[in-house]
């Protein structure tokens, strides 16, 4: 990989982060110049108390001074305080991160079954298998993922009673060790399957179309002419070459770990980033939302950078340019 390529991508990601930071700051400020006033409206605070709150939330000085103060805070890993719980935003986020990483990570891996299905469908384009899987992927694409969650919860949770209707574990559970783990797995099955169903279509479509793209290549013709069996041509020549877009899609999708489950977490009362986002919208708890947005955006930008670099490694033609 050329150094110039690496530097260009790094610089691109860096400016994007700066853009998001500026956007994040000015959006919340420009729309609402004096958040303290609106947050504590009707609380009958004295001028001195309001002033104190402004100092606490870094709302003194001109907008530019505030922006510099905000940048300084960010560099120290300080995202301010949640209005709801008065806890530091950073600690709320780190508590909520693990359940989300677990849930979305699991479902993203599950959804990758779609890649295999997509390759097969593309390989045998026009077959009944292709028609069925393509229609199904369009159908899952058309369903809001939280609605899939509601239907699954209604059917398998409330209706059939196979799965608990929400949460990370049974409330008031004192179980430890293996039984605690099994309880958590039991709670996670429904939401992770729902998310997997929601994501699977995209993998299928991308894998299928990149396989179809590959089918036109001459080297497949050559491999067949050499007398290779069909399955072997697919495995040895077609799939490796159809892998590129799929790898980059997977890398990008891992960037959505924090934002992928906002609505679904709220259905399953899953105590993660999504639920915190939902609560912050409902509040509205603006400092919390600001911090969450930064985290979500940063994860996506990072994943895009990784995807770009991976592409450069896997396809030297890209990095050479």
């Amino acid at each position: 990989m050329r150094l110039g390529f690496l530097a260009r991508k790094l610089l691109g990601a860096f400016t994007t982060v700066l853009f998001v930071v500026a956007f994040n700051f000015f959006l919340f400020r420009v729309v609402n110049r004096d958040p303290v006033n609106s947050m504590f409206r009707g609380r009958n605070l004295t001028k001195a108390q309001l002033e104190q709150l402004r100092v606490r939330f870094h709302l003194t000085g001109t907008l530019w001074q505030q922006f510099w103060a905000y940048l300084g805070q960010l560099l120290h890993g300080d995202l301010g305080y949640s209005l709801k719980s008065s806890r530091p935003v950073v600690s709320v986020i780190s508590d909520a991160s693990w359940p989300t990483l677990l849930l979305v990570g699991t479902s993203t891996l599950l959804a990758m079954i779609g890649i295999t299905i997509g390759y097969r469908a593309g390989w045998r384009r026009g077959s009944a298998f292709d028609a069925t899987s393509t229609s199904l992927s369009m159908l899952t694409y058309a369903m809001p993922e939280f609605w899939i969650g509601m239907v699954f919860l209604g059917l398998f949770g409330a209706g059939l009673g196979w799965f608990p209707v929400g949460g990370l574990e049974n409330p008031g559970s004192t179980a430890t060790g293996l039984s605690k783990l099994l309880d958590q797995v039991h709670h996670m099955i429904l939401p992770s399957v729902v998310l997997a169903v929601a994501y699977i279509g995209e993998y299928m479509i991308v894998a299928r179309s990149s396989m179809i793209e590959t089918l036109r290549e001459d080297y497949l013709q050559l491999a067949r002419a050499k007398g290779m069996r069909d399955a072997e041509v697919r495995r040895r020549h077609a799939v490796p070459n159809a892998r590129l877009p799929v790898v980059s899609l997977s890398a990008i999708n891992f960037g959505f770990v924090f934002s992928g489950a906002i609505a679904v977490e709220s259905i399953f009362s899953w105590p993660g980033i999504g639920q915190q986002t939902y609560l912050a919208i409902r509040g509205p708890d603006l400092p919390m939302l600001q911090g969450l947005y930064l985290l979500i955006a940063a994860a996506v930008i990072l994943a895009n950078l990784v995807a770009d670099l991976l592409y450069g490694v896997l396809d030297p033609r890209v990095a050479g340019r």
Partner: protein, 311 residues
């Protein structure tokens, strides 16, 4: 402006106006596209579904008044009535007819879906044409900006904007439009880059045509079909986004929408108490409309781009 038809070389002296040639070509292209569409059964079904939904949505004010949706528990409007002869789809926790809510919700979905797409396409086309046609530092700046918007996650950005700006249908339209124009901008730009190098643009330029003339007469008409297909595919995304925003409580509180119904269903625990008639119908509505637009968009795309036809 009159051009001499090539037939003059054969000795037949026919002068055909450029306009006539243009219309002739358009007629052939339209007839061709329609013929292809007639053979495309899924696209026809999609059109029928969309027409039916649109007609029902437009008829909603004639079938019922909006105040029917504000009914509270009365003898005539019992709460949680199961689907049956009186209420086709039952009633909700306040005794409101679910069927009427679905009907009124279709208006919001279609309105937001179409309006947001219009804004997206207008912004994207404008930025794409300006960047592609004028090149230089303006192009570099606009594309940097587009790249930023491409990378930052679309839904969270929409959520943050909607939370800060307030709750109304127009704000949702604005929020979706402002976050989803980049892909259209890129598409249009790449198309413009290839069009501006064509011979007929050179010819127009040599004849002293102004930039507005070239953009209006040569660039826009050539970009339009592509934009049409991509905007048809942008409608379902707008509708799904509106649904998610409403579900998260960012919808217009004065309007019944499909996402808002699902939000309400979750809030009153319709799912865990097995009141399926409250949360299934709005979902089915969303799926029908989104699928129809997706199928239509894909088939438009393949009509306009022959390379996609074999897929």
């Amino acid at each position: 402006m009159t051009e001499i038809h090539p037939d003059i070389a054969n000795g037949t002296d026919i002068a055909v106006s450029a306009r006539a040639i243009r219309w002739q070509r358009r007629r052939t292209a339209t007839r061709d596209a329609l013929r292809r569409l007639r053979r495309d059964r899924p696209a026809l079904v999609a059109i029928v579904v969309l027409v039916v939904v649109a007609v029902l949505a437009l008829l909603a004010p004639f079938i019922s008044t909006h105040s029917d949706l504000e009914a509270v528990n009365t003898a005539a409007n019992p709460v949680w009535a199961t689907p049956g002869s009186h209420f086709v789809l039952g009633t909700d926790n306040l005794g409101r007819s679910v069927a009427l809510q679905v009907l009124w919700g279709a208006r919001v979905s279609l309105f937001v879906g179409l309006m947001a797409t219009l804004l997206t396409v207008a912004l994207g086309t404008l930025i794409g044409i300006v960047a592609g046609f004028f090149r230089g530092w303006l192009d570099a700046l606009l594309m940097r900006f587009t790249d930023w918007f491409m990378v930052i996650p679309f839904l969270p950005t929409a959520i943050v904007l909607a939370t800060v700006l307030g709750r109304s249908l127009w704000i949702i339209v604005f929020v979706i439009g402002i976050t989803s124009w980049p892909s259209t901008a890129r598409l249009v730009r790449s198309q413009v880059l290839s069009i501006r190098e064509r011979l007929y643009v050179d010819r127009a330029r040599a004849l002293g045509a102004s930039r507005t003339h070239i953009i209006g007469r040569h660039v826009l008409p050539n970009v339009a079909p592509l934009v049409l297909a991509s905007s048809t595919l942008a409608v379902p995304i707008s509708i799904l986004t509106e649904t998610t925003l409403s579900f998260l409580g960012l919808g217009d509180p004065t309007q019944v929408s499909w996402g808002g119904m699902l939000e309400q269903a979750r809030d009153v625990a319709a799912v865990t108490t097995n009141r399926w008639w409250y949360y299934l119908p709005p979902g089915v509505g969303i799926i029908l409309v989104v699928l129809a637009f997706t199928i239509l968009g894909r088939s438009l795309e393949s009509v306009l781009d022959p390379r996609l036809r074999e897929r």
